[in-house]
Symmetry: C2
Subunit: 332 residues, 2 copies
């Protein structure tokens, strides 16, 4: 990833977790953050390669992605006498990466951060963008920092332990990137199963994300395209109260933002990947959650639309227009 | 302040608080953070010039400079539906600036921050460096961010309400800058009372600080000189448990880091400004607080020394050497 002084390497390689000490500087104190839902073996594999590992196991779930948990991680570093030259490493999904990354961003005003995502969702999407954060009062990622990792290790072998629904939700973000950024890739998705060659799929996804982040580290421009599906998706996620996974909500959030022709192409792709294409959730509840969401602003919504695969664009729409889009969503 | 995309204006001018709306963009939601110890009139003056002001009054003192208080400020912004285009303004001393600045740094991963310091200490020292942060478990500023303000207003008229001890502690930081960075200014301090012309004194202090921060925004090099007096000073501050002000502790912390000849010049300057030059605090308690402090690292201390006025330098010293320096401190 080329970001001037914030540049770093992303390694996509089977078994790279086993040789993390050759790829990262682990010859110091390393706070390894993982959660109880992540197979313990991954954190242990990493810890065995660190000079002074400290493993922090947090409770899983977005409900624990809070300022209190970040404070607890900082306290753990303080107790173990971490200095500015020490570092934090996340081993797990996006929740662990967001939390650990934010703790790294603010402990001593910033220490090195390594991301070792072990879920497909975090591998394709959240591991390399530098966005960190926690939730507050039910609003997702409302408090956080832009803090780039010093290195990212993506080991496709960790997907061997991933349950089917977590596979599916990762694929939703992959479809999102194809649909907004790369028409050819979306065409390939209509023909082939991306799960056949995961190293290639991960490389493609990361290549797209890398390109966008390099052009727009702080999300002032093109990076906003990666919010495709997230305007309604976040509302769905809040309204579902944990019953739907993030990627499933993104799948549901993408459909209403497509032109009818694109939607007709998208639906079978999502179905084949095991993703939902309709929901019985109360639309008023979704709407209220959307209004509460941080992407809303006084003038309406800034949202991403797709009328031609590979060519997402940002458009400002009024509250009334967005309400109408939601009202028409998920019809057969 | 020239910091590329992070550049901003610093206004030093009598009465500038009265015309803040001409100098800052207040035509939006503005979270005005102040504390109960700050004369209420200053926050009210600013609020009267904002389109949508929200005033948050926090409890004063370092004990309230916590993650919990920052979380509360973020919650207030959330309740008032702040968006990324809104901003935070600090009105008060360094504690308010540190807190408000950190809340601005992390709300929505960063919103605009304005600093309107009303104490001499914050005007000469903490208002323009971009360091924000909170305390955790008794360790000062251990969690925070580098987040530059978008504008700084320094109104010398606010010093009219400042109690004498707060005057003195501000002067301690001024002496610190002269002693480490500007030998001529230190010579002037030996001849003249800097309180005679406060606009000029503030301009001189800010000029020095600005120059150092511009060369070293993230404190990788020359900016470390501004930590002069803070290695022992922070230990004194912790050990004193609130009985001494920050600047008084810096005064005490500078003396042992000077050569005997410089110390002999420094002592009468401090005395004339109403600052302490000795303390009966238990040195073992000071030492333990120093070890607990964030500037310590496994190899000893990186500390600033002065052997010639205007030429501070950073030197690594062992634990034993620093313990000996502390042991010999404050002898007549």
């Amino acid at each position: 990833m080329e970001l001037g002084p914030n540049s770093y390497d992303i390694t996509v390689e089977r078994g790279c977790l086993q040789r993390a000490d050759a790829l990262l500087n682990l010859d110091r104190r390393v706070l390894i953050v993982t959660d109880r839902g992540v197979p313990r073996q991954y954190a242990e594999t990493l810890a065995a390669r660190c000079k002074e590992p400290v493993v922090a196991v947090v409770a899983p779930g977005e409900g624990n992605k809070t300022m209190e948990t970040v404070t607890g991680l900082c306290r753990t570093m303080l107790e173990h006498r971490f200095s500015r030259g020490d570092c934090v490493a996340a081993v797990g999904g996006g929740m662990v990466g967001d939390l650990a990354g934010f703790a790294a961003a603010c402990f001593m005003r910033g220490v090195d951060f390594y991301n070792l995502p072990t879920t497909l969702l975090s591998q394709v999407d959240s591991s390399i963008g530098g966005k960190t954060g926690v939730n507050l009062d039910g609003v997702k990622n409302i408090v956080g920092a832009f803090w780039q990792p010093r290195g990212v290790l993506i080991d496709p072998d960790t997907l061997d332990t991933l349950p089917p629904r977590l596979w599916a939700e990762g694929m939703a973000e992959y479809v999102k990137m194809a649909l907004t950024l790369d028409g050819e890739l979306f065409a390939a998705l209509q023909r082939e199963d991306p799960r056949q060659d995961m190293t290639r799929t991960l490389e493609r996804a990361l290549g797209l994300k890398k390109n966008v982040v390099e052009r727009d580290e702080r999300e002032a421009g093109p990076r906003k395209l990666l919010n495709f599906g997230h305007t309604i998706g976040h509302g769905v996620e809040s309204a579902a109260g944990g019953a739907l996974y993030h990627g499933e909500c993104v799948a549901l959030g993408m459909l209403p933002m497509c032109s009818p022709a694109v939607r007709a192409q998208l639906r079978p792709v999502l179905e084949r990947l095991g993703l939902p294409t309709s929901t019985g959730l109360d639309k008023q509840a979704v709407w209220e959650a959307m209004l509460h969401d941080k992407k809303s602003n006084s003038g309406g919504f800034s949202a991403v639309f797709v009328e031609e695969p590979g060519k997402g664009y940002v458009k400002n729409v009024s509250f009334a227009e967005m309400r109408a889009i939601l009202e028409g969503a998920w019809q057969a």
